[in-house]
């Protein structure tokens, strides 16, 4: 049980948090032939674009309603209309994902009203669904924007079905999962003869494939007809607490029952998923996963010497923090935790406290820790602290392969045991003649560290 502490500072230093609209935009990037559109100033889109390009090392379709000062004051109806018409003419998307921003929410643009008027005026756009989601920058964080977008997608596009597709399951995937993770989850479901529909599916759009031609929209990802067909599935697997609202919305609309998996890193977490898949499919757990489970058990036995009693500072959005934090605790580590926004999970974290704060808070907590885990912006803190640093989460812009980092499944967990265990091993301190000599500085050990 953790005490949730909200930072009292007026100024956020070295932000851990990113904003809602780009979280929503990334969810839309997991749909096939989609164009996400931010209703805001062009900078809102430019920053998100650069961030995703550097993380995924892929071209990113992302547009803007290009609001200027005057348009903001007068209302953005014309800009939204022009943007949609232009996008449809130039990029011919199958679906548009429209997200508001702090700017247009402060003004109070009634985007849903605009969309009704635009629909009436432009019947030629009838074939292109537009999913709108309200995502002011000054509320919540990246993960919440993603969650709201997915909820909007299923609420608007999924259809109830008369006939059940017996082998079809829905997977609602949280923003903390990488394309590599999604690929692993898909393989697991398929190994039981199930036919999964992943929403959103970044493993289709941002997995680094080489398309045959240039596309101005996403290429790959969940297809529109797949989303519509979700109502026919026998079950929904929601991965991450952030997917609960979307899973509930889907259940309400289509009657497909959902099961929430709070996390998929760790032995017991995956046991639970495979038992579920086995029940749903009526098939035995395939040998492949029995072997992988045994390999993970062995890795845990080999690795636990190096994990036990280690202090690890983790800065991440709530679902990723939950995923990694719980697993580290299961390996015998102690946890220092900083996150970006509220979540029902926070109080249940296996740490004494969890701070809703920034990387300055994390850096303070990480003094004396054995490992720092956060996104690439933690690099300066890690350097100052002089402790090993593992990049996890978005953005990871200074390492290759962010899209393919695997940390779910038995196999993903096994590799994570090795990766983090090796960081501990590489940083092990040899005993020296003065190791057991009381140090003079010890009197000052409790003194706070100086800033920067």
């Amino acid at each position: 049980m953790a005490t949730v502490i909200t930072s009292k500072k007026a100024c956020s230093v070295n932000p851990l948090k990113m904003s809602q609209p780009i979280g929503a935009a990334l969810a839309f990037l997991g749909l096939n032939r989609c164009m996400p559109l931010l209703h805001g100033s062009q900078g809102c889109t430019a920053f998100g674009l650069v961030l995703f390009v550097r993380h995924f090392r892929e071209a990113i379709p992302l547009q803007t309603t290009a609001m200027n000062e005057v348009a903001t004051i007068l209302g953005g109806m014309d800009n939204v209309e022009q943007a949609i018409v232009n996008i449809c003419n130039r990029a011919r998307p199958e679906v548009i994902g429209l997200c508001s921003t702090g700017l247009t929410e402060t003004k109070g643009d009634d985007v849903e009203g605009y969309l009704k008027l635009i629909r009436a005026k432009h019947p030629e756009l009838d074939g292109v669904p537009i999913v709108y989601v309200s995502t002011p920058d000054y509320k919540d964080a990246f993960q919440d924007g993603w969650s709201k977008a997915v909820t909007g997608i299923v609420r608007q596009l999924a259809q109830p079905a008369a006939v059940r597709a017996e082998r079809q399951v829905n997977v609602l995937a949280g923003s903390h999962l990488t394309p590599g993770d999604l690929e692993e989850i898909r393989e697991m479901a398929e190994a039981f003869g199930l036919d999964p529909i992943l929403v959103p599916d970044l493993s289709g759009s941002l997995d680094g494939h080489i398309p045959e031609d240039f596309s101005p929209t996403t290429l790959g990802g969940t297809r529109l007809e797949q989303i519509r067909a979700m109502g026919a599935s026998r079950a929904t697997i929601a991965v991450g607490e952030q997917m609960r609202p979307a899973a509930e919305a889907l259940e309400q609309k289509t009657g497909v029952p959902y099961t929430l998996f709070e996390r998929l890193t760790g032995l017991t977490a995956n046991d639970r998923l495979l038992a579920f898949l086995s029940r749903e499919s009526g098939r035995q757990v395939p040998d492949k996963y029995r072997r992988q489970r045994s390999q993970l058990v062995d890795a845990m036995l080999d690795g636990h010497f190096f994990f036990g009693g280690k202090r690890v500072a983790v800065g991440a959005e709530p679902d990723l923090l939950w995923d990694v934090g719980c697993w580290l605790a299961e390996m015998g580590c102690e946890l220092e935790a900083v996150t970006t926004a509220h979540s029902p999970l926070l109080e249940r974290l296996p740490s004494a406290e969890v701070t809703i704060g920034d990387l300055e808070d994390l850096e303070r907590l990480a003094h004396g820790c054995d490992l720092l885990i956060t996104h690439s912006h933690g690099r300066q803190a890690a350097e100052r602290l002089g402790i090993p640093f593992l990049r996890m989460g978005m953005p990871t812009f200074d390492r290759l392969g962010a899209a393919h980092r695997l940390s779910v499944g038995y196999r993903g967990t096994r590799d994570l045991v090795f990766e983090i265990g090796n960081l501990f091993l590489a940083n092990a301190h040899d005993n020296r003649p003065d190791t057991w000599t009381p140090a003079k500085e010890e009197r000052h050990a409790g003194a706070p560290a100086t800033a920067h």
Partner: protein, 463 residues
């Protein structure tokens, strides 16, 4: 906002800008930002531009007053290097919440400034306005003034909220902030007849350090670089320089021009990219300094250094000629780089099959025509799809561009080189040109190209 609107009009009416002066009164009033097309726009906002221009000042705290998006989505992502102070890489933001939006964020801003001064003790705090806080009417100039008075440290308002215009406008508004609040507020410890300012150079990938050793050798002191690897004190006392070089032509022309008017510092527009341009720049610096009273022998020493460095550079480039002859380059960049790099690449035998002139001035375009002949392939605005086609159909061998369009080339399985702000290699001066050519050669001849272009056996022929 009235003052901001006035400032923008003033910035748009730039007497030292050739492009601006060629316009009719009516055109000029519209300003120099193209009207953006919703749904078909790309590029940063004015806030982004202001931050790019000022963030390289390394020892101050850069505080962004706005919701998390403006700083949280973008901080510490540019390659401006520092020779010492690191504070510029710390992200500070008021991260305003819904309550602030309703009741105003001025108190949070004031408290934030105090927290920063208490914890980090920088020589100054730069406060950046953003769209939301501008819209709700937070008066950052008043808050900065109050904070300055209360804490006895310069707190500089940078009033360039994103929605007032483009990145380029933001560069200029950042320059205005320096002119209004920083430049001329302190005095240098000493001055010499060899003191210059370099304006509009951001020390990306450490490029300033490719040039500085040559200036050092000539005894020329960079009193202040605005703003690459700059310290607050240097910028504040930059009004005592004898001459100035303006590097990125469209970015900070207002700073160069107004410093000439106010402090009598003559300036020229030059570039560190390309061999002949580098030499020209050194010559011009020497000329202006001598005109302002530096000993005339500086001219000869400069010429001698240019002769030596040019010979050395050409000697180092020579080995690449054979391997680069006839290779075709597609150059997608803006402004000055388009002509100054073109000339240098041509000199080692590369053929330029196209260059973008989206951000170039009329003068830039004329220079390109001069260099490339009448059949100059100038593109005003090339769509990614066109770039992709051009590469896919092998009408170019390599593309040089900014990071955002890199995948257009890579997905066509064609070599690409980063020449924009996020690049890791430094391409300035004589050293930089050699580095650029070496990178092009490395990229063109990497053994992966043949492998990645070969189809899988089962796709090439039925098994």
């Amino acid at each position: 906002m009235a003052t901001l609107a006035g400032k923008i009009q003033q910035v748009f009416d730039e007497p030292a800008c050739g492009k601006n002066q060629a316009k009719s009164d009516k055109e000029r009033k519209k300003g120099c930002s193209k009207q953006l097309q919703p749904g078909a726009a790309a590029g940063g906002c004015a806030f982004d531009g202001a931050k790019i221009a000022l963030q390289p000042i390394t020892d101050v705290a850069h505080l962004v007053h706005g919701p998390i998006a403006c700083e949280g989505n973008s901080w510490d992502n540019r390659g401006a290097k520092s020779s010492g102070a690191r504070l510029y890489r710390t992200g500070f933001t008021t991260d305003i919440n819904e309550t602030d939006v309703v009741f105003g964020g001025e108190k949070r801003l004031f408290k934030s400034i105090k927290e920063i001064l208490d914890k980090y003790d920088p020589p100054a705090v730069f406060v950046y306005q953003t769209c939301v806080t501008a819209l709700i009417g937070d008066d950052i100039e008043a808050v900065c003034k109050a904070a300055s008075a209360k804490f006895g440290k310069p707190v500089i308002p940078v009033n360039a909220p994103g929605f007032v215009g483009s990145k380029n406008l933001g560069n200029k508004l950042a320059g205005e902030a320096l002119l209004d609040h920083v430049i001329g507020t302190e005095e240098p410890a000493y001055t010499t007849p060899y003191d210059i300012n370099i304006i509009g150079e951001y020390n990306l990938a450490g490029e300033l350090w490719q040039v500085k050793p040559l200036l050092d050798e000539l005894g020329i002191r960079i009193l202040s670089c605005i703003s690459g690897d700059a310290r607050y004190h240097e910028v504040a006392s930059s009004h005592r320089a004898r001459a100035a070089m303006m590097v990125c032509s469209k970015a900070m022309i207002n700073v160069a021009r107004k410093m000439e008017e106010r402090y009598g510092i003559p300036f020229f527009e030059g570039s560190f990219y390309g061999i002949s341009d580098m030499s020209d720049s050194l010559r011009q610096i020497a000329r202006l300094l001598v005109e302002k009273g530096a000993p005339a022998e500086l001219t000869e020493r400069t010429e001698a250094l240019i002769r030596r460095e040019e010979a050395r550079a050409w000697e180092r480039l020579d080995p690449y000629r054979e391997r680069l002859a006839g290779k075709r380059v597609l150059l997608i960049t803006g402004g000055v780089k388009s002509w100054s790099v073109v000339a240098a690449l041509q000199e080692v035998g590369l053929e330029i099959v196209g260059t973008s002139v989206k951000k170039s001035t009329k003068e830039d375009k004329e220079r390109i025509k001069e260099i490339m002949g009448d059949d100059a392939h100038m593109f005003d605005d090339m769509t990614p799809r066109e770039m992709y086609r051009m590469l896919k159909e092998a009408r170019a061998d390599i593309m040089l561009s900014g990071g955002r369009s890199q995948f257009v080339a890579l997905k066509a399985k064609m070599p690409w080189l980063d020449i924009n702000q996020e690049r890791h290699h430094a391409y300035a001066g004589y050293e930089g040109m050699v580095a650029l050519v070496r990178e092009i050669e490395k990229s063109l001849y990497n053994p992966i190209w043949e492998q990645v272009r070969t189809p899988a056996p089962w796709d090439a022929a039925p098994l």
